[in-house]
């Protein structure tokens, strides 16, 4: 925060810069100390309005030359409240600790605002909140710490997928990810995961439409503004942060031993597939132990920050080496950042922020398909050996049809190397003391290469190799003109924006087969006897204009209005352009006499806002009706390109629009020791960009339509406080909770749309999720399961799985499916505690999500014979119904009637409470180490999870979207972790 204040200090200095007649100057000296009287080093002392400044020395003293007529000095320092004092000689100044966050400056879209003047719903997450935890990604920092933000670690793979939603999901087919803006550059080519979390100073989460409407067509899913760290004037500060984490699987499935497996398989096959099941006694392969391993993560970060008169810098480098829980998977990341701010003269500043990183992933992709190693580890017959003979894998087993999972992952050679970066240059020009122009130009990029080598194990008899490369650039230029003036009790600011963004994407792939030797790895594709190439291109662009007026009267009544107009290339004709207005009001009750007199509230503010945002997050060319490219070989090894009619053109398609109302209350009590914030919101998304299924008799596929409406409404609470504090001991705590209710209001002419199922063919054979009016997105649609028949009935025998014949047609099928819960959590919360005792700090962080269901396909695959997995493996399922065991609800595996995977038998409660972090840190002061302060910490993450979910990890999910969410199909689980870390500050 403080760095912002310094920036703001400079900004204020510029804004108030007026035509100054230089007359005489005088020298002022003084000394600055902290609340406890110790001298403060490196405190910024500025002449208000002039930008003339200095910093305090070792003993807290400073000397500054002040022009005659300057009436105010601004004194600022990290964690302290700014002081504004008239310059007198031999000043003795004592700074006060900052009162919670009240005094903060908050980054809002295209500008900043004082927190106490906010009218929108904006939450700041400072890096301090998670400082002693081994955080590898910005998403982990957000998880459980911001009300209204739901973070789900869908994949535990190194660098794996994370789903972030702000106030639920709005859209069925368009993207529901928030917009990430790094130092003013909206990310278009890379994601949050590509950034170095250690470079982040703070994240501001813009939740309601009055805050996000300035991002117009990109604001519907909320916006996360990320500010990277910058230097502070003073001596260079060198900081090292490093940790080593040790990972273990959180749990294992309880599977059959080989004897039970063989017996059950004989029953399923109706014949002695295994002639002598007892011969496996004491033998068998534990595939889970073969595939999951204890792994290690290392992270190192070194930074240097500082500045001199007119120049500040922050330079950092990082290296992370992350091994996966699955063998032979890992990711290495390394990168640098250099942030530079230069003051050219009293009116002009410029800054250059530069971040580039390299991410090397090994076997980390494509874990989604059903035969993935996680599924393999759980379904492969324990009766099968890993090797047939030394060095010779047992390639195919008796069940499932997928290849030996150990071989598949051990022999896999799939590398991806991405160079990602965000670069921007910013120029600020204070035209007058009330008018400032900021020009920000930048790019984010992802230049990626992938390569694979299929050896004879991966692709028997037909080895091959391939490479692909892609480049993805998003350019952005924003020009912001800011006006700010106060007259008596009126404070007026106005902002005008012109912005252009464009994205360019190119890729090509080359792959081959018939490789005779793997000696050259994937580096010589020409050695393949059969080859194929393909390439792609896409481009989108966006032009935006935005105006904002913020007005406050008497520091009591706040009013903000914005209007953005966007033009997008993704739509056609008149649908390219649209307007996104918003307005909001705030009432600072605590500045009213009648509240002040109560002497209860240090802060009391009522906020209300309304706004319109859009969603254009569909692929470029989605409305053009392009031809489908396919590959055909005429039966030979040479492939030919083919094209056929794809989905129809839809030129009438336009933006998806969200209208959101927000009412909020901020309460500060006990002189700021207790802060409470509550928000209610109601968000209606209409003209849903919906891919509507084309009947299979018309060739299948889908086309884009604007139909329907989705509503999200909910409550958010945040309580922060310091229940106890004295010289040695302090306890601070923060609790946040969000309740979100998601509901489909209408779908045009339809009342229900079945989702195409994109995964799991061979395990399930029809869609298990629907979008239905009156239900939330991600609703499951399944055949109701009733356990097993206790007695023979019709064609069903006792011990057969029993289902409800909902439509009463006498036969069980997909007509019998019913609504069976949703993948969308209704309630999420986080509870963070910091206890400091002398040099010790303890952090306990608990987080939870409730009210969501998961369809556990992984579990089902081990429990029901399917086309892919013919014999079952789940230990519980071995305890199947027999006349003597009629309490069991597991069907007899030898049943002659079908057991349905697509049934409520495999829907499970996805709610959980997780002890996300426990850490203890100890600081060794400068008094001991002389040159540096050191902090040592030990942290444990994910060590306790309370859940009824039967899979590995209730967070893990295979499909990343929202309407097809909550399907666990061999999802990669997160580990439990113990970390030892060290921070050094010089």
């Amino acid at each position: 925060m403080v760095i912002f204040e310094k920036k703001i200090g400079l900004l204020i200095a510029c804004i108030f810069l007026s035509v100054i007649v230089f007359a005489q100057t005088k020298k002022v000296t003084g000394k600055v100390s902290g609340p406890d009287g110790t001298p403060l080093i490196g405190v910024t002392v500025l002449v208000k309005g002039l930008g003339i400044g200095t910093t305090t020395l070792q003993d807290g003293s400073f000397t500054i030359t002040v022009p005659e007529g300057s009436k105010t000095l601004v004194i600022s320092y990290t964690g302290m409240e700014n002081l504004e004092v008239p310059p007198t000689d031999k000043m003795n100044l004592r700074m006060r600790s900052k009162n919670a966050q009240l005094a903060d400056i908050v980054v809002v879209g295209y500008g900043t605002q004082k927190r106490r003047d906010l009218t929108g719903s904006i939450v700041t997450l400072s890096a301090k909140t998670y400082k002693d935890q081994p955080v590898l990604a910005a998403s982990s920092a957000l998880q459980g710490r911001v009300a209204g933000v739901t973070v789900t670690n869908s994949s535990g793979a190194p660098g794996g997928a994370v789903k972030i939603r702000i106030r639920g999901a709005n859209s069925v087919n368009a993207n529901n990810d928030p917009l990430y803006v790094v130092d003013g550059i909206a990310l278009g080519s890379i994601g949050l995961a590509d950034l170095n979390v250690n470079d982040i100073e703070s994240m501001e989460v813009l939740k309601d439409a009055s805050a996000t409407a300035v991002y117009g067509s990109r604001g519907a899913n909320g916006v996360v503004l990320i500010t990277s760290r910058s230097g502070a004037t003073g001596l260079p500060r060198i900081e090292y942060n490093g940790f080593v984490s040790f990972n273990k699987p959180m749990k294992k499935y309880d599977l059959m031993d080989a004897v039970t497996y063989a017996k059950t398989a004989n029953l399923t096959a109706g014949a002695a597939v295994f002639a002598d099941p007892q011969s496996f006694a004491g033998k068998g392969t534990d595939w889970q132990s073969m595939l999951f391993t204890n792994s290690v993560i290392q992270s190192h970060q070194l930074s240097i920050a500082g500045g001199k008169e007119g120049m500040r810098y922050y330079v950092s480098g990082f290296y992370v080496n992350q091994e996966g829980l699955l063998i032979n998977t890992n990711q290495k990341r390394l990168g640098i950042r250099s942030n530079l701010d230069v003051k050219l003269n009293n009116q002009m500043d410029f800054g250059v922020n530069f971040y580039v990183a390299r991410i090397n992933s090994h076997n980390n992709d494509d874990m989604g398909s059903k035969g993935n190693p996680v599924m393999g580890a759980l379904t492969w017959a324990p009766t099968e050996p890993v090797y047939k003979s030394p060095g010779q894998y047992n390639r195919f087993g008796i069940s499932p049809i997928w290849l030996n999972p150990y071989m598949s992952i051990r022999e896999r050679n799939n590398d991806s190397i991405a160079t990602v970066g965000v670069l921007n240059g910013k120029f600020k020009y204070a035209i007058t003391d009330w008018l400032t122009l900021i020009i920000n130009a930048g790019v984010d990029m992802n230049i990626a290469g992938k390569a694979y080598l299929n050896n004879d194990w991966i692709s028997a008899g037909n080895m091959g190799s391939g490479q692909s490369s892609s480049e993805n650039f998003t350019f952005q230029n924003s020009n912001v003109l800011t006006f700010h003036k106060t007259f008596n009790k009126h404070d007026l600011s106005a902002t005008a924006l012109v912005e252009e963004s464009s994205n360019h994407f190119k890729n090509f792939n080359a792959s081959g087969s018939g490789l005779t030797s793997i000696a050259n790895g994937y580096h010589n594709l020409g050695l393949n006897t059969a080859q194929s190439i393909s390439s792609g291109y896409s481009n989108w662009s966006l032009i935006s204009f935005m105006g904002r007026i913020a007005y406050s009267f008497n520091d009591k009544y706040l009013f903000t209005a914005t209007m953005r107009r966007d033009g997008s290339s993704k739509f056609q004709g008149n649908n390219k352009w649209s307007n996104f207005p918003s307005f909001s009001v705030g009432w600072k009750l605590s500045n009213e006499k009648f509240i002040e007199d109560l002497k209860v509230f240090s802060n009391l503010k009522l906020r209300a806002g309304w706004g319109v945002t859009g969603n254009q997050a569909i692929g470029p060319y989605s409305t053009l009706g392009l031809l489908d490219g396919v590959i055909y070989s005429y039966g030979t090894v040479n492939v030919s390109q083919g094209y056929t009619l794809g989905n129809p053109a839809t030129p009438d398609v336009k933006w998806e629009t969200s209208k959101q109302t927000n009412i909020g209350l901020d309460i500060g009590l006990l002189n700021g020791r207790l802060n409470i914030s509550a928000d209610y919101y109601n968000k209606n998304t209409s003209d849903l960009l919906l891919f509507t299924r084309i009947a299979n008799y018309d060739g299948g596929g889908n086309y884009l339509k604007n139909v329907g409406k989705v509503n999200n409404k909910g409550w958010e609470f945040m309580i922060e406080g310091t229940p106890y504090k004295d010289r040695n001991l302090s306890w601070s705590t923060a609790f946040n909770a969000s309740f979100n209710q998601n509901k489909v209001i209408n779908l045009g002419r339809d009342s229900m749309l079945e989702r195409p199922y994109s995964i799991g063919d061979g395990l399930f054979t029809n869609s298990i999720q629907v979008v239905k009016v009156g239900q939330p997105l991600g609703t499951f649609y399944l055949i109701p399961w009733e356990g097993v028949y206790q007695t023979d009935k019709g064609i069903y025998k006792a011990g057969d799985a029993r289902y409800t014949d909902v439509d009463g047609n006498g036969s069980i099928g997909f007509e019998d499916r019913v609504i069976s819960g949703s993948a969308m959590p209704k309630f999420t919360w986080g509870f963070n505690n910091n206890v400091t005792y002398r040099n010790f700090e303890l952090n306990i962080f608990i987080q939870g999500a409730h009210g969501n269901k998961i369809f556990n396909t992984t579990y089902a695959a081990t429990a029901v014979p399917t086309s892919d997995v013919k014999f079952i493996n789940l230990a519980d399922a071995a305890n199947y119904w027999t006349p003597g065991n009629n309490g069991s609800t597991w069907a007899n595996p030898g049943s002659k009637n079908k057991s349905w995977v697509e049934s409520t038998q495999f829907i499970q409660d996805g709610g959980y409470v997780r002890l996300k972090n426990v850490s203890v840190a100890y600081t060794i002061g400068k008094d001991i180490l002389k040159a540096a302060t050191a902090k040592i910490y030990v942290s444990a993450q994910n060590i306790v999870t309370i859940t009824r979910y039967k899979g590995f990890d209730p967070e893990a999910s295979t499909v990343g979207g929202d309407v097809d969410a909550g399907i666990d199909l061999g999802a990669y689980p997160s580990p439990k972790t113990v970390t030892v870390g060290l921070q050094l500050k010089f």
Binding site: V273, K506, S513, G635, T636, G699, P865, K898
Partner: protein, 497 residues
């Protein structure tokens, strides 16, 4: 100075506003193909044909549950085979997932065909021949797709252009056949006698030719003469069309292979007996699904003995009736290697399932005859849809039904029997007996070949009849089909139409 700066900013803003014209927002999909730029050159037409081919191929790269209802093929009623078995025992419902590949791929092919029919004439940069051939190809593919659809489901939706329609009504069976005949008559004139380019290699046309159109038309007429249309006047038309093919077989290079077993050798994936077939290859880089065949060693091999999937094996009654000879030896597997051990050989009676397994589709690059083990579940096997043998048998049946079993009819069936190692058919049979002999012959000849047997039973109204011979050891029928009421003659329409 200050005013200069202000003007500069003003101009700067104006420039930025100026660029805001819609040109910046135009979409140019350079990496993709749009309908406006396609269907112009001969090469465009070739790409459209290739795409249509692979849509159709999708229907035959895997087993369909539909033809398990016939008496040649069955599977065990356990675990993941239950849905295929449901057809076998007449218990399939609309949720059955083993028939959707046919429904979806035939209609996907029809959509591509409709698009090509609407556009082939616009290819002004192509030659007349290229345009004609493309049109003929599209008509043929639409016809053959509808032929499978209506034989399987009866009345079905019949889109004839690319416009979408929700809740499209079903067309009458007669109307569907009228379209099929009309399409094939166009295809017959527009298709070439021989393709050039990638659609022909090893002296075999991958795509249908004039000859293929005639052969299919003969089959269509034969079917129209049977149930449900029973237009018996079509027998003569069927015979005439089949005769055209037989008389001019050299034009298209059709011939029976000398040995029945050779048809199934992977080295003969392209052979002169193929009048119409779907071709696959599992050796191409990063195999897209439709380019590999799942009529492959694994689905047709015994599970316990050889590590196959038990997806399909032969019904015992049918096997027992199947006349011995080289054809039977090439149709059914004789020796089963327990645990892939060539030293531990059993006969089918001693396999776990106690059923004979089919040997067709077994030979593949991925199959090891020494151990009977396959290392890939995709194969390069060809799915033969019309073999020249069928043209001969169609002629024999249609000729007998229209003009009586004359010498030419005998000659045709005896060509097939001779290769099968059988004696010539008893001379002087009645029309009915001759016809029954031909239908039986078709059963032996085309056992487990993509539904030919099932459609024969349906058109000759003998589904119930053949099931009366069903071996007692097979899973019992859940429902009894009726040849009088034609119950269970049609597959249930998929729940997702």
């Amino acid at each position: 100075m200050k005013s200069v700066i202000k003007y500069t900013i003003g101009i700067l803003l104006l420039i930025l506003l100026g660029t805001a014209c819609n040109k910046y927002l135009d979409e140019t999909p350079k990496g993709s193909i749009t309908t406006t730029s396609f269907y112009q050159t001969g090469n465009d037409l070739q790409m459209a044909e290739a795409a249509l081919a692979i849509k159709f191929n999708g229907a035959f790269n895997d087993i369909s549950g539909v033809y398990y209802a016939a008496d040649d093929i069955t599977t065990k009623r356990n675990g993941n085979k239950i849905e295929m078995s449901d057809f076998d025992i007449f218990n399939a419902n609309s949720s059955n997932s083993r028939m959707t590949n046919w429904w979806n791929y035939f209609y996907a092919a029809i959509k591509s065909a409709n698009a090509l029919i609407a556009n082939y004439n616009k290819a002004t940069l192509a030659t007349d021949a290229q345009r004609n051939n493309a049109g003929g190809y599209a008509y043929f593919m639409r016809a053959v797709s509808y032929f499978y659809l209506t034989r399987t489901w009866g009345e079905v939706p019949m889109p004839m252009d690319v416009a979408l329609m929700e809740n499209r009504p079903n067309a009458k069976v007669a109307d569907i056949y009228n379209l099929i005949v009309a399409d094939l008559q166009k295809a017959e004139t527009m298709l070439p006698n021989q393709w050039d380019g990638p659609a022909r290699h090893d002296n075999v046309d991958i795509f249908p030719t004039k000859g293929t159109a005639k052969a299919l038309l003969a089959n269509v007429y034969l079917t129209m003469a049977g149930w449900p249309l029973k237009q018996t006047d079509k027998y003569a038309l069927a015979a005439a069309k089949a005769k055209e093919v037989i008389d001019s077989k050299a034009t298209w290079g059709y011939n029976l292979l000398t040995k029945f077993a050779d048809i199934w050798k992977i080295g003969n994936r392209f052979n002169s007996e193929a009048v119409f077939a779907c071709y696959y290859n599992n050796q191409i880089p990063s195999v897209p699904v439709e380019n590999g065949s799942q009529l492959a060693p694994n689905p047709f091999s015994p599970d316990y003995e050889e590590g196959g999937w038990d997806d399909a094996f032969g019904e015992i009654a049918f096997y027992n009736k199947f006349p011995a000879g080289p054809r039977k030896d090439a149709t059914y597997q004789k020796d089963y290697y327990v645990k892939n051990d060539p030293a531990n050989v059993v006969t089918w009676q001693n396999t776990l399932q106690k059923h004979p397994y089919f040997l067709k589709y077994r030979d593949d690059y991925s199959y090891d005859w020494a151990t009977h083990k396959a290392n890939n579940w995709w194969s390069s096997a060809t799915s033969f849809l019309i073999r020249y043998a069928e043209v001969l048998l169609t002629y024999a049946e249609a000729q007998a039904m229209s003009s009586g079993p004359d010498a030419s009819a005998y000659a045709a069936i005896n060509q097939v029997r001779q290769r099968a190692g059988l004696n010539p058919l008893t001379p002087g049979l009645s029309v009915a007996n001759f016809r029954d002999s031909v239908v039986a012959e078709r059963g032996w000849e085309f056992a487990a070949e993509c539904g030919i047997r099932w459609f024969d039973l349906v058109r000759t109204e003998t589904v119930q009849k053949v099931n009366s011979y069903r071996d007692a050891t097979e899973p019992p029928l859940a429902n009894q089909p009726s040849d009088a009421n034609h119950t269970y003659y049609r597959a249930p329409v998929p729940i997702v139409k």
